[in-house]
């Protein structure tokens, strides 16, 4: 089989490797398609800190200008801050140049629509259609320069400070180590945490240095943070990914609590202290959150994987809290988007108000064991394999909203083709590690067998 292309054009945007598939002309055309779709107007542009950010930004500017849009250069900005920027500046849309947690050789364009939301899937499909047809509405006479906003974080900051219980945090004055992974939060996070009343040690906040470790906030990438927490005797450690939508936390002993528990803690705190609200998470998220919601007596819903799906479901259900188990906490009052900053606020308040340590708080959560992995499978095989499992779910509760999720009393599994890579994502969660491993291995072998068929 031909090696799958690393280029990924999907409703999440367009993503590829610099020097290979992610070429300036591709970025140009995609930006032209977006500007054509929006019919011009003010379109905000921001980047994360990848060394290729300027190259991509210039191609985006060219594409937007070509179709009559005025780009506003919001500089280096976390993705939640950018979504809020698009909303609060009443831009017609936005393009974020970030490959999120992917390694440094990748880059991507993420589209944001008016109001600061990712496009609905039908909108993304319309934009893609314009892109594929190449029928761009290039304007014959248009005079514009990109405008520069040097303080684009202010809108997000204002909302966060309104959301936070600053008095409570100031009283405890927690000592915090934060690892911004030299990513988009780097210029802002230390000052923000200080404004909340924390004592702050910030590491990896140089936007011109390479990522110090892979930018996905999972336990294996948190060793530097763990050591710093121990060294400084901090109460809590935070890790943000390169675009600062996802959050992981490390307790006072330097132990990562697991990104699934970041969300569970945030939801628990919110429901107990900030107000009752329905909770929405995606299909891949731990049962721990479901248990927390049940405990609090609020309704609980699962949505398809993909931030916009969770956000749409939250809006539909009037949920103020929710998110994704991978560390994507959504506090709708700040903005309905995954936001590591909102997550930090909730966890810091939890520490401060409870007077407990983070390890104590984490130990009070229901314990599950989760295994996530991806298995390289072409798109076509992926769909075929998922179909097979639909027929072979013996006795479990079936959910076909997104790939296949099967719930059994002691464990559940979720298998779905990725939207961004030619892989199948498999998640198994069980009460015990042993069960989780056994089930995971069994299913993986089955997939590999089906792949060869």
């Amino acid at each position: 089989m031909r090696r799958p292309s690393d280029l990924k054009i999907s409703i999440s945007g367009i993503r590829g490797k610099i020097g290979r598939s992610f070429t300036p002309s591709l970025v140009l055309s995609f930006s032209e398609a977006f500007a054509t779709y929006l019919g011009g107007g003010k379109i905000a542009v921001a980047t994360d800190t990848r060394p290729t950010r300027d190259l991509v930004k210039h191609a985006v500017f060219a594409g937007l200008l070509s179709c009559g849009a005025t780009p506003v250069d919001a500089g280096i900005l976390p993705i939640p801050s950018f979504q809020i920027y698009v909303k609060d500046t009443r831009a017609r849309g936005g393009i974020a140049i970030t490959a999120s947690h992917n390694p440094v050789e990748w880059n991507a364009l993420k589209l944001v629509r008016r109001g600061g939301f990712f496009p609905f899937s039908y909108q993304a499909e319309e934009i893609l259609d314009i892109y594929h047809q190449g029928r761009f509405k290039r304007v014959p006479y248009f005079s514009s320069e990109p405008r520069i906003d040097r303080d684009a974080f202010r809108f997000h900051k204002r909302r966060l400070l309104r959301f936070a219980d600053i008095e409570a945090i100031k009283k405890r004055r927690p000592k915090v180590v934060v690892d911004a992974c030299n990513g988009a939060a780097s210029p802002y996070v230390a000052e923000f945490l200080e404004a909340l009343g924390c004592e702050v040690v910030a590491i990896n906040t140089d936007v011109d240095s390479p990522f110090p470790h892979p930018p996905e906030p999972v336990p294996e990438n948190l060793t530097q943070l763990s050591e710093a927490v121990k060294k400084y005797g901090a109460d809590i450690g935070f890790a943000q990914d390169a675009d600062a939508d996802r959050l992981a936390a490390v307790d006072e002993t330097g132990t990562p609590i697991g990104e699934e528990y970041t969300l569970a803690l945030a939801v628990k705190y919110y429901l107990e202290n900030k107000g009752k609200s329905p909770v929405v998470v995606n299909l891949s998220t731990s049962r721990a959150v479901e248990d927390v919601a049940r405990e609090a007596g609020v309704s609980f819903f699962r949505a398809k994987v993909g931030e916009i799906n969770v956000v749409e479901e939250m809006l539909r259900r009037g949920a103020k809290i929710g998110g994704e188990g991978n560390g994507g906490i959504i506090a709708a009052e700040v903005h309905p988007c995954r936001d590591s900053f909102s997550g930090m606020v909730l966890l810091l308040e939890f520490l401060s108000k409870s007077g407990k340590t983070l390890s104590e708080l984490a130990s009070e959560l229901p314990r599950y064991f989760m295994i996530k992995d991806k298995i390289e499978v072409s798109m076509k095989d992926g769909i075929r394999i998922v179909e097979h499992f639909k027929e072979a779910s013996h006795g479990g509760k079936l959910n076909l909203m997104d790939g296949i999720r099967i719930d059994y009393p002691d464990y559940w599994l979720h298998l779905r083709p990725s939207n961004t890579e030619p892989v199948l994502r498999l998640i198994v969660e069980a009460r015990s590690e042993r069960t989780a491993r056994e089930i995971f291995e069994k299913i993986r072998e089955e997939i590999l067998r089906l792949k060869e068929e």
């Binding site: 300036p24 140009l28 060219a62 070509s66 050789e105 014959p140």
Partner: protein
């Protein structure tokens, strides 16, 4: 019909149907792939489409792995000068030159700052058509940096080729119309350097053009009106990237752009002898200058590329065209309207003569330039037909056809910048000119 015209004179077209960001990106990728490495200076002439085209070019060049220096609005000849001085290894000027405001072009400049020669150009065009662009990895891409050039060094060097002291002493008063182009950024420094009192019109950058940016009497009405109203010494009309120049006398008479080259040559050749390189479409006035100094005039194909590369090959120091273009090889490898202005002012200062006196010393010819829009293939067929018809007269076939007569000449050729047939004829009297025109018209109408 597409409006993209690809030649050594640039990748030129109406925006966006001919030239757009996608075409600019691919040509810049091809050019950078051809260059392989180095520092690329990039400037624009300020017209509206320059902004988006420049961003596309920055991204494309950087993606191949070459460092980009963003010079913003700057005359092409200044970029050519900077490349010649080794500040950059190559350049790209985004300018519509003499074209209307809804056109633009990418001019590719080689390691000496010259337009590409035909071998270099073909190499770039081949890469463009095959789309075989080099792609740097994420850690090898080029940096994109803003660069503010040292205009003082440019003027200082220019001062060495004229009698700057004489010009300063004369304290000339001049009117300049840069037609909203990049020449505007240099006018104040130029005036200060040569102690000129300067009155500028249309010196905002970009926007709606007040008239077509081709320097010629047709577009000189505003500047001429100013000169008639005030008592100034000369008027100068520049194109968008300050490569071409036409003159207006102290009386407000707009001179044909054909006068620029012979007057500049008169100024320069008094100091150093050199053969003169010009094109088959340029006035006979230059032969008068050549005879005066006993130097040969060599006629080549139309366009900056052929003139400059012929200068290179023959060792000629000075060259130019009837379009109001002058190049001095020791100064830079490009047509430079500021250098041309300096030459004219130098001549006025040293001879202590007015511009109308200086022009009256040149032989008076009558010239007519015409263009006919027609499909490219028909243009070529017509020119072939003429070559047969006129072969008994032993015409010059370097570019289209140039037929020499005792009291006049004409040149008929395909344009390299537009899809038109260009006809230029010149004669000693209006009567002879009329006869030439009738002769050509007859050929044109009988050919179908």
């Amino acid at each position: 019909m597409t409006t993209l015209r690809v030649s050594l004179s640039g990748i030129r077209g109406k925006v966006p149907e001919g030239l757009n960001v996608a075409v600019a990106s691919d040509f810049a990728s091809a050019f950078a792939t051809y260059l392989e490495r180095g520092r690329v200076g990039i400037c624009v002439d300020g017209r509206w489409s320059g902004t988006m085209l420049s961003h596309a070019v920055f991204a494309a060049v950087s993606a191949v792995g070459l460092d980009v220096y963003d010079l913003s609005v700057l005359p092409t000849p200044v970029l050519q000068f900077l490349i010649g001085r080794g500040i950059f290894n190559a350049g790209l000027s985004i300018t519509g030159g003499h074209n209307p405001e809804d056109w633009n072009a990418l001019l590719l400049l080689n390691e000496k700052g010259a337009y590409l020669d035909s071998i270099e150009g073909n190499e770039v065009f081949n890469i463009y058509h095959s789309r075989e662009f080099s792609r740097a990895g994420w850690d090898e891409i080029g940096k994109i940096t803003k660069y503010i050039p040292d205009l003082g060094a440019y003027l200082e060097f220019m001062g060495q080729f004229v009698d700057a002291g004489e010009i300063r002493r004369a304290g000339f008063k001049i009117v300049v119309d840069p037609c909203q182009g990049s020449g505007a950024v240099l006018l104040r420094d130029f005036a200060e350097f040569f102690n000129l009192k300067i009155l500028t019109i249309n010196s905002g950058i970009g926007g709606k053009f007040p008239h077509d940016p081709e320097p010629n009497p047709e577009n000189a009405a505003q500047a001429a009106a100013v000169l008639k109203a005030v008592s100034y010494d000369a008027g100068f009309l520049l194109n968008s990237d300050a490569s071409r120049l036409s003159l207006i006398t102290e009386k407000g008479d707009a001179l044909s752009e054909e006068y620029t080259l012979p007057l500049a040559a008169l100024s320069y050749l008094e100091k150093r002898p050199s053969s003169i390189i010009t094109t088959v479409a340029t006035s006979r006035m230059i032969e008068h200058v050549g005879r005066k100094f006993g130097v040969p005039v060599i006629r080549t194909k139309v366009g900056q590329s052929s003139v400059v590369h012929t200068m290179e090959a023959t060792g000629a120091r000075i060259g130019g065209e009837g379009s109001g273009s002058v190049c001095l090889k020791e100064f830079s490898r490009g047509y430079d309207a500021f250098l041309s202005m300096a030459f004219i002012l130098d001549l006025m200062a040293r001879k202590e003569k007015t511009l109308s006196e200086l022009t009256s010393e040149l032989p008076k010819y009558h010239m007519k330039k015409m263009k006919f829009a027609m499909p490219v293939e028909k243009i070529y067929r017509f020119v072939h037909h003429l070559k047969e018809v006129y072969s008994p007269e032993n015409p010059n076939l370097v570019d289209g056809i140039r037929v020499e007569r005792q009291r006049g000449w004409f040149n008929i050729r395909p344009s390299t910048t537009e899809f038109v047939l260009r006809i230029i004829m010149e004669a000693e009297t209006p009567r002879v000119l009329e006869e030439l025109e009738e002769e050509i018209n007859e050929k044109l109408w009988s050919f179908q």
